[in-house]
């Protein structure tokens, strides 16, 4: 080896910068690039999709919110400054739909937190086939396509033949009256997600080691005390997670129900924030205002999510 080295050394002094280094240097860099490439290639399809269909439109929505545009390709968009935001924030409809969204989220709490927790606690000793059957049945509504669920409920709430009126002995035209329509939207959305919440709580309770409750029982704690001071605190991360989902997703879950059953009516009684957005864009044809509303919701929900995540980090008791 050394001999060849010496042998080439003499002519190589001149040749290296011209032929020797270029062919050997470029392939080396090429090879380095090639070796670094695979992860990026594998990432490309998913990442391109996310960037093109989520982040590009996000940026465009922000941009659009500073323009007036009626969504017709023939008419150009006109700069509007903060006009869209100003008009939106002073519109009574926005305040109303925001308030309805809050009421609606509160209405969902029994379905996503209270009942599931109660059920989870009462049934934690149930095991075996019957318990699995119950869970399968409770979960089934989650699988019903939202539109199918909506038409089934429309039938159940039918003022002439509806099973609900018969069952309750009432004579209500549920979807045409303000209060009942709101209640119906909450119950139907709750029906869809209840099983999911029950399963989450059940999984949370199953994850709590029996050692704690047994130790408490040995110390003479009653069942109620054990539940209050041991099980519930250990369950708090699960419950906070459910709270987070309720706040962030309730309006989302109810959208197909509202769109199919009430279209935001009667007289705006079920127009929540997302439905308001949908109406502004596709019935009002005001792209700028809709975009401005979208940006405001994005910021609002983002802040809300951050606060809740912080809160769950602070309050959550973790079982190590």
């Amino acid at each position: 080896m050394t001999t060849t080295g010496i042998f080439v050394e003499v002519p190589a002094v001149q040749a290296l910068p011209l032929d020797g280094r270029a062919p050997s240097g470029r392939p080396a860099r090429w090879r380095r690039v090639l070796r670094a490439l695979p992860p990026y290639l594998y990432l490309l399809p998913a990442l391109a999709c996310v960037v093109f269909w989520t982040y590009r439109p996000l940026a465009q929505t922000v941009q659009l919110s500073f323009y007036h545009w009626d969504m017709l390709p023939t008419s150009p968009a006109e700069p509007a400054g903060l006009d869209n935001y100003r008009r939106l924030l002073s519109s009574p409809q926005l305040g109303r739909s925001l308030w309805l969204t809050v009421v609606f989220i509160l209405g969902m709490v029994p379905f996503t937190i209270i009942v599931p927790t109660f059920v989870g606690l009462v049934t934690r000793r149930l095991r075996g086939r019957t318990a699995a059957l119950y869970r399968a049945l409770v979960f089934a509504p989650m699988l019903v396509p939202p539109v199918a669920g909506a038409v089934v409920w429309q039938w159940l709430l039918d003022p002439r033949y509806g099973a609900v009126d018969r069952l309750l002995g009432t004579d209500l035209n549920w979807l045409q009256q303000t209060g009942p329509a709101q209640l119906a939207i909450v119950v139907i959305t709750g029906w869809h997600v209840l099983g999911f919440a029950v399963l989450i709580v059940t999984a949370g309770i199953a994850g709590i080691s029996d050692d704690y409750t047994e130790a408490a029982a040995l110390d003479g704690a009653s069942r109620g005390q054990t539940t209050r001071w041991i099980t519930l605190p250990l369950l708090s991360p699960t419950l906070l997670f459910l709270a987070l989902m309720t706040v962030l997703l309730s309006a989302q879950w109810s959208f197909p129900v509202i769109d199919n059953l009430t279209q935001g009516g009667p007289s705006g009684a079920t127009t929540n924030i997302y439905y308001f957005l949908w109406e502004t864009a596709f019935q009002g044809f005001a792209a700028g205002s809709a975009a401005a509303a979208g940006v405001l919701f994005f910021l609002g929900f983002g802040v809300l999510a951050l606060v809740l995540v912080r809160l769950s980090d602070r309050l959550g008791v973790h079982d190590n």
Binding site: V152, Q252, L277, F298, F301
Partner: protein, 272 residues
């Protein structure tokens, strides 16, 4: 003390869960019950439909092209789920097998999408679909859905727990990363891949918002086709319930066969 209480505790548990199950399942039962009633006694209050009739299904087939709509929905859900599965598998593979520059950024870009509500992106995306000439086509529904962040995250979690020795052994054998993916990773990841595939299929089958925008005029998936039943002269309820029941059927069939996997996939996707 605890021992003597257990039977009563169990009994209460059965009652509570039993009642809850009935409340949850009743609307579904009522849908199928109504679909089998004769049009004449569609308003009957009897719990069991009798005499049985399939007239509702026949009428439904007259009003809308059920077979065609189901086929379209199947195509959309199947292609969407397959595409999402593939892109998530690649992305999760990239995120777990190599350490590379920009890895953290890529991860954040995926997670960050949770914060962007669909309503914020819908307008610009709609405009792109119009410009691409994909309005009222199934492709217009599928293409923007081809990446599932949920899928990326779930597979990433599974791949992080994947034994590194297997990957290293494959590299020693001189196998390329592509060959390793298909001969080592995928065969060992069959169970999570299957449950993710089912989850993605169901989610896409039940998707409403985006199809409702893209197919506003053609209404060519079953979810949107159901709206064809409402008319000013009154609704043919047994036909509508038959169509709704058929729209649920594929998912229920999957659920009956693969109940445990589906439930655990849903729960895990929620907890993450």
């Amino acid at each position: 003390m605890i021992e003597t209480r257990r039977p009563r505790q169990q009994w209460i548990g059965h009652v509570v869960l039993g009642l809850l199950s009935i409340a949850c399942i009743f609307p579904i039962y009522w849908m199928y019950a109504t679909s089998f009633r004769r049009p004449a006694d569609v308003g009957a209050a009897s719990l069991v439909p009798w005499p049985l009739s399939v007239q509702g299904y026949r009428d439904a087939a007259h009003i809308i092209d059920i077979g065609g709509l189901l086929l379209n929905t199947f195509t959309v859900a199947g292609l969407t789920a397959a595409g999402q599965l593939l892109t998530s598998l690649f992305a999760a593979y990239a995120l777990t097998r190599w350490r590379f520059r920009g890895q953290q950024l890529a991860y954040l870009l995926f997670v960050g999408t949770w914060l962007v509500p669909f309503q914020v992106t819908m307008l610009p995306n709609y405009i792109v679909i119009v410009q691409l000439g994909l309005l009222n086509t199934l492709a217009g529904v599928i293409v923007p859905m081809l990446c599932s962040v949920l899928g990326v995250m779930m597979l990433r979690q599974h791949l992080q727990a994947f034994p590194r020795e297997l990957l290293e052994a494959a590299t020693m054998d001189g196998r390329s990363s592509w060959a390793t993916l298909w001969t080592v990773v995928v065969p060992n990841l069959r169970a999570p891949l299957a449950s993710l595939a089912i989850l993605l299929f169901i989610t896409s089958w039940n998707e409403y918002f985006w199809p409702a925008m893209v197919l506003r005029h053609s209404r060519s998936v079953i979810q949107l086709g159901l709206e064809g039943f409402f008319s000013p002269e009154g609704t043919d309820w047994s036909a509508l319930m038959a169509a709704a029941g058929l729209a649920c059927l594929p998912v229920f069939a999957l659920y009956l066969v693969l109940q445990r996997q589906i439930v655990s996939a849903f729960v895990r996707s929620g907890i993450r």
